[in-house]
Symmetry: none
């Protein structure tokens, strides 16, 4: 990625043409970016190749050249979405933190990421409408997830050992819970705002919900019976 950027920077110095013909990397990146927007806004079936061409400034033919067909382009969008979140996540260093802090940090990161990347939520939703038809084929994406599970598992073990967390929590369940609370709220804020007659998309509401997620997750993780009680019962 750095190499690429360098190269294109170097070149754009030489010839400052706005949107670059003869610059395959830039062209295909522009197409991908436009495709992310379009698929995000309209879903798979609603997305229009013509619109992507227009948005990206590229010739329609180039889309087929670089991505094969609509499916291929969508697949590229899907992959880039997952690669995006997982690689950001990799910088969290949960192992260096106390269990409670680690979970707080993971929850905060996740919520912030979802807030900052609405396209991720949208692609997810689209992909699930298709029952993960495309995702299943993407080995590249599938390999991305075991580090995440290991990291969470490690935190949970440490927390249980120190008595901070309840025992027996499944790390996959925990991650899904965190994601649920964040993604569902954001993905469904439009219908939720409508039915509850309350603007859940407003900044204060969003901040409140972020705190709520933390409260729910940490509230749940508290040991089932406080230590004192346990001792008392013995």
């Amino acid at each position: 990625m750095t190499a690429t950027q360098h190269r294109s920077t170097a070149r754009s110095a030489k010839k400052s043409r706005g949107a670059g013909p003869r610059d395959p990397e830039r062209t295909s990146a522009a197409i991908l970016a436009a495709a992310v927007s379009e698929f995000t806004d309209k879903g798979y079936a609603g997305a229009r190749i013509d619109a992507i061409a227009r948005r990206s400034g590229a010739n329609k033919r180039m889309i087929y050249h670089y991505f094969g067909d609509k499916d291929g382009l969508y697949r590229a969008v899907l992959e880039s979405a997952y690669v995006g979140i997982r690689s950001s996540e990799a910088g969290l260093q949960l192992a260096d933190l106390a269990p409670e802090k680690a979970i707080e940090r993971l929850v905060a990161f996740t919520w912030d990421y979802f807030l900052a990347h609405p396209e991720f939520l949208s692609i997810l939703s689209t992909e699930n409408l298709h029952r993960a038809k495309f995702l299943k084929k993407s080995q590249r994406v599938l390999e991305l997830h075991s580090p995440l599970v290991s990291a969470i598992s490690d935190v949970l073990k440490r927390g249980a050992a120190s008595g901070t967390f309840r025992t027996g929590v499944d790390p996959v369940h925990l991650y899904i819970s965190i994601a649920s609370l964040g993604i569902f709220y954001l993905s469904n804020r439009w219908t939720l705002s409508a039915i509850f007659a309350r603007d859940l998309t407003a900044q204060p509401e969003l901040r409140a919900w972020g705190r709520h997620i933390s409260a729910v997750i940490l509230g749940f993780l508290r040991p089932e019976k406080p230590l004192a009680n346990k001792a008392a019962r013995l």
Copy 2:
């Protein structure tokens, strides 16, 4: 209703054609049912009027007759989905139960309803892709939700008063949390199964997740400092 039935009975004697032409109610119900399936499976843009006509056995022209256009048909589907869940919910009688029992019941009902009505999840997701464009227009649906909020609010108050629940919980937040955990899991089970390499659609996993939702919600609702509070009260 009686009139209609009488009429159609009278006529079906006259001309015994299998599926009923000249039976407006049956025709439009068949169309709606087919539309639910189609929109559920394909989303709004992916749904095909032709497919709905085929699936329902009705003439395509009838769809336009009863529902105006594709939008109108979709709106009908959307409304029927919300009416379905809210009217089932109305039978819960949460006010008659102890706070903890009431929440357990609400959680269990909600999870079971989502499990039994995948079309509800799908429609929700589709509607959110469109930022609730259609829902906003449906006064009928919007009016359906204040009883739900009131009921939950009442339970939370009773729980807080008795020391069973923490205080300051927003009923809308609580409902969204319950819905999040259920809907997100089910809507996303296809991608989640893929990325976590684990069949989250299997019966035991589904049952485990149902228990997990209860644990999370009730775990969260526990008073924040149980020992102190409890001690104080004793």
Copy 3:
């Protein structure tokens, strides 16, 4: 066929609209006729659905409605071509004629048919470019040909028995020979005229070639050693 014509005639009396909407039979017949011309002129790949729509006066969508896709339309054209020649042929009554007369009649009919139906030659040529890909799938066409072989076989047997024809002639070979001489000349008249610098498409040339086919076929069928045989029999 007669029924159809009658019906559409009856109707066109009632409502004299030039090209008939609401007359499926006429519409699909018009499409087929236009398709025959287009595929004949341009071959499969060169044919344009748009052109067929224009030529037939039908809406493009109707082509897909009646024939499925380009392949289906081509297949219909192919079938109609074979049905055309074989059903005309069926009226020849070769069994009622003396062997030599029967062959003369078959040759004359075949040549005349080819002359009158250039589209048949063209479709044949197109189909062979595709190695009979479509024909192989058409059971309907394949069943059309055994009566022809039987009829020729019978004539050859009678001719051999009476000493008019040589023995051991394969009826399929004979038919292919007759077809070869006629079809090749006509299909290739354009290149042949060019390379031999002689207008082989002119009427006198066509008549001369018709006589030539007869002479070749009958010349070939003469018994191999006429003198001896004839003498012996006298």
Copy 4:
């Protein structure tokens, strides 16, 4: 030629890339060969410039460099096909053979050539679909054919003079007859096999048909009335 070879040898030492860039002759020959295959398989309209580039290993731009456009490339293919058969034919030396032997040889050569050069048949067929549009423009090809007609004419005259052949046979007609029987069978073997439910592409069938052509042509050429009869009538 020598210069070119020298040059390319010198360079192939320098950069041993498999197929030769910087070797104009090889590049254009490779393009032509690929074009022959492509036009043969798909016809003019069905042929793809991209496919020819891929098949030949040449850059698409080179095709335009050497042949101008699709038409020019097709024309080159067409010319090479005719040059191929006519120059092979030139070696037959029919004048040195007895008339019957000469015809036998011509028939055998022609059949063998068609068998060995399916692309010739295919190009012919394609060119005739276009009514010899391209051929007419190719002076080079047109000049190729008068020697053939002269040679056949000479043989026929000698045969008629010696009483071996019937009189009044048009040499162009004779050649077209020979070509008809060979080309039609081979070009149409796919449809003929299908409609006659018999594999006419099998080796034994091909050999049998080769003999059949000879039998038909020589059978036809036999004098109409044996000499004895003629004498008797005088």
